[in-house]
Structures are given as structure tokens and as C-alpha cells.
Amino acid sequence: MAFTIERQAITKWLQKLLESGEVIAPVRGPCGDILFSTIRSPEQVVWNFQNPLHPPKQFVLPQTDPIVTIKRNDERFEVEPTYDDTRRFLFNVRSCDAKGIAFLTRMYEMEPADASYLRRANNLTIISLACNIPCPLGFCVCTGSGPFLSDGYDVQLTDLGESYLVEVASEKGEAAVSGVPNLFRPATEDAVSQRKRLETEAKNHFEQETCHFASAMRRISTGRVPDALWEKMSDSCLECGGCNMACPTCYCFSVRDLGCDGTWIRCRLWDSCQYPAFTLEASGHNPRAHRKERMKRRFFHKVSAQYYQRDATVGCVGCGRCIKVCLGATNMPAVVAAIRMGKWNE
């Protein structure tokens, strides 16, 4: 189902969305940088932006995610699950980020499903904005996650100039565009063909950033990446975990009890497979004590055929955030290229 909406009418639509739930959109922060945040009024939404450094995954998988409340009365403990049932609209997220959330949801849906995550995801409506001009560091075209989407969204907007094309792909999407008479008109054939043209143009606009997953996948999956290469690459890793925190598809976590004296909140916390303690056992034994083993693990999880078969995708949406955050340049395209060429920075 496709509609168009006039540019000026978006405000009215956003007002309607604000009445029915929390709206999260890219806004300009106090220091001028762009970030995803809950908005109070439609004017806060920015339309021309490059992706914020942090993906919107925190709205389905908060960095500190309360999952169980624990209370102590004398010697007796009571536990209750903690759910977040807030209805949320994620507005103007880029294609890669919409795909990132679709990836996380697939992971948490896998049996046994994770009720805590799914409650939040089921209440989230994703309204994505297709990228007419890809961002300089993006390589979503290599991961099938942009610049335009064919799935992974509830509503996809395309900027047609004076109006937006509004593609609706789900019941949640239908709900988001209903109840506002006269705002949405059925899309004309002209509008649909304009979208197709824009998609083709966008694909021709990619800059040098590319990621040839196939040959790297073949080597990673069959253990044919020399140990010495992992070691050399891992020499550049500072073990900061920035790649994991900024990655839309990273979902590793730890569980901790926060609080004190009789009331605790058991929380799921983001964790990083690049931290030495990630696999440290109580006995002191650590199966991935060396940085090279942890780096190998990260790329096995994201690029191996074993995971590709399970997940039907690589664990990357081509957003380019790891290129931006990594201080040691061990980002996805660089590591994939090194594996393909068999050398690192030579």
C-alpha cells in the first residue's frame, strides 16, 4: 500500500502520532549534533541529517534494561517481571537502522523467545526515511539494508520534493497512517516511478566504501584466516568496545542486580565480546584471553557462513558507524578487506 503526503501536512501527522504514543526522531542536540530522542513537538524533527553516532537500538534494547524487580520483606523475596509496554514510533530512522532493529528482533524471537525484548519491539512502529543520497561512510548496498528498503519497516517515507511517498508494510504501519483523514492520498503511478528512479540514483551515489563479504565469509567460515593476520589486526584494537556499542546489530548482554538493601532491579546490560572478561570463568580460566581470539569471535559472529545460514544475513547493516568510532581502524570494511587480501595495512 502506498500513499503520498504533502510536506506541510507532516506536522499534522506527527501531532497525531504524539497523541497516540512516544515519538522518537532525529533531533538537533544542545551542541548541534544529531541524536535520536523523544520529541515533544513536530518542529524538533530534522529531515536533512546524517546518521547519529548511536543507532536507535536503545529504544528496543536499552543499555540498562530492567527485566526483574526483586523485593525483600524480612526473609522473604518477591520477584516480578518488568515490562515496558509504551507505544513508540521511531520516526525518520534511516534504512540501515530499521534493518538493524529487524535483525535484533529476529535474534530475540528465536526460540526460546525473549518476552522482555519482544514486548518492547511489538509496541514499536518503525517509520523509516529512505536515503536519496547515501552517507559517505555507508555501504548498506553491500548488506542489502539500504539505501531504500523492501522490508524491515512498518512505514517507509521517500522524499519526493514537495511531498513524501508513504509505503505501508504492516498492520502497525496501517495504524500509524489511519485516523487522520485527508492527509494521505493514494500514491499516483508517477510518484511510485519517481521513487524507483530515486533508488537507482541513490545506488549510483555510493562513495568508495565497499565491503566484499563473500570471499571473507568463505575464509572465516573455514578457518582459513591465518592466526598471524588476526594477531596483526588485533594489535590495532584498543578493546574499547565502541564498535559493539555503536553497532545496530550487536546484542550481547550481561545480567546484573542493581540497587541495594532490599530492593534490586535485575538488569540486562550491553556487553562487549571485545572485553577480556566477556568469557572469563569463575575458575580464572579464559577461553578467549587474547585479543586476537576476541576479534576473531566478533567477525565470526558477523560474517561466517554458519551464522549467515542461521540468520539469512550477515550481522552488519552497512551503516559505517564502526568506521567512525574505531580508534584502531579495525572496522568492518577494513577487516573484511584485510581478510580478502590476506594482509593488514601493508
Partner: protein
Amino acid sequence: MNDTFLPDIARLLDVRDETPDTKTFTLRFRDLKNAGPFHFLPGQFLELSVFGYGEAPFCIASSPTRPHTLETTVRRTGQLTTALHRLGNGEEVGVRGPFGNGFDVEAAHGKDLLFVAGGIGLPPLRSLIWNVLDERSRFGKVTILYGARTPADLVYKQELEEWGKRSDVEFHVTVDMADSNWTGNVGVVSTLFQQISLKPESTLAYVCGPPIMIRFVVHDLLALGFKEEAVISTLERMMQCGIGKCNHCAIGHRYVCRDGPVFNYSQIRELVE
């Protein structure tokens, strides 16, 4: 929708000292809805909560043939286990589970069984051992070999004595370093192979202990003619969620918490780090 991370409350019925740093905890679910039998397989594990300290995985050390209480044997090594060791009778903990695949008990029907345990590696095998002994007629010859660093490090001392006395069990125990009261075997557990006769073609071997001990024992078993599929172990990894989501225990694309922790040696060799 299920409450993925919600623990059930259990009370400690008994806390027993095994060694200076290891205790066995007997648990029973507090709330009525869980008062019935708790279904599990030997080799499966629990996520045990010590409230305020979080939760950690521990194998179930009791047998499913005795379903009204659960036992777990825990060595004091970190914050959570230290806090657990401070708890006494009547105090409450949280339990999630059971998790993991467990031992395939039916596949062992009619077979001779060899158990080889080192130190704190006995608890997961104890669950299977009592399961087998409680249904003794279904299984062939049962041999148990147990080794620990010193006599003080032996767990379940009373049960070891009982196994030693039973005519339907061949039991041998050894220590790496004897003390003045020890009159038994001295040496690593694999030296006990000299004292027993095995039929590798009809025997399943269950091995659990420290990584170095597993390596030597598996090597010896294969040399004795055991097939890789007949050598079964239970792996240990840092585990948090128990359901294959948090990724701590991943080895390649397998998850010790969900695909394991029980693997045969042929499967273990296929795990690529």
C-alpha cells in the same frame, strides 16, 4: 508470553560442607505452583540467583529420579558463590531452568557405563550416576573412577564410601597428593585405568573435570579403542542467559547453554572457536 528472566523462589533445605571451599545446597521451590516434581535431565543446569548479586549457572547434582528436591554443589570462587556460601537453611534463592541438553539416559540403556570425574567435575556426573543406580537393572556394568588433588578435596565422601561398598558398582578413587591418613591410590585419575577391564565397543564413557584432566583421559580412552561418539563430556563456559541469546558461551555458532553443555568428543572436535 513466558517470563524469560523471572526466577522461581526456592528455599535452602540443607547446606552441607563438602570440602573447605565447596558446599552442597539442597533446594525446594517455595511457591505452590512449583511444589510438584521439577522435570529435568541429568547434565542440565540451573541459573541460580543470589539476590543482590545476580545469577550464575550451576549444574544440577541430584538425580531426576528423586524429583522433590534439587541439589547443587558449589565451590566458592567469586562474589556470587561467596554470597551463596554465606546462606543457611531456610534462606531463599532464585532458580531459572532447567537449561541445556542434558545426558541422553535412554541411549545408555543396556550399555556398560564408565564415569571418570576429577575434583569438582563429579557433581554433574553424580546426577547421572544416581539416575543409573536408581534404575540399575536397565544398565550394564557401572564403573566409577574419581580423582581429586588431595583427600580433603573429595566431594560426597559418604556416597563415595557407599559406591565402594556396592557390589553392582566398581568404584576406584585416587588423589594426586596423599596426606598421612590416606591409604588409597595416589596418582592422577587416568592411572586407575590399569585397575579395571573395559569393553570399549559396548561402553559409554562420561568424563568431567578440569580441562587438563579431560584432555588426558580422552586421549587414553581413544587409545583404549573408544569411539569418539562414546566419549561424552559436559563443557563449562561463562553463561548468563541460559537460552542462547547473550552470546557469552558461544563457541563458533554453537551455544554451550543451549546446544550443550553435554557433547560427545566427536562434536567437541567440530566446535571451532
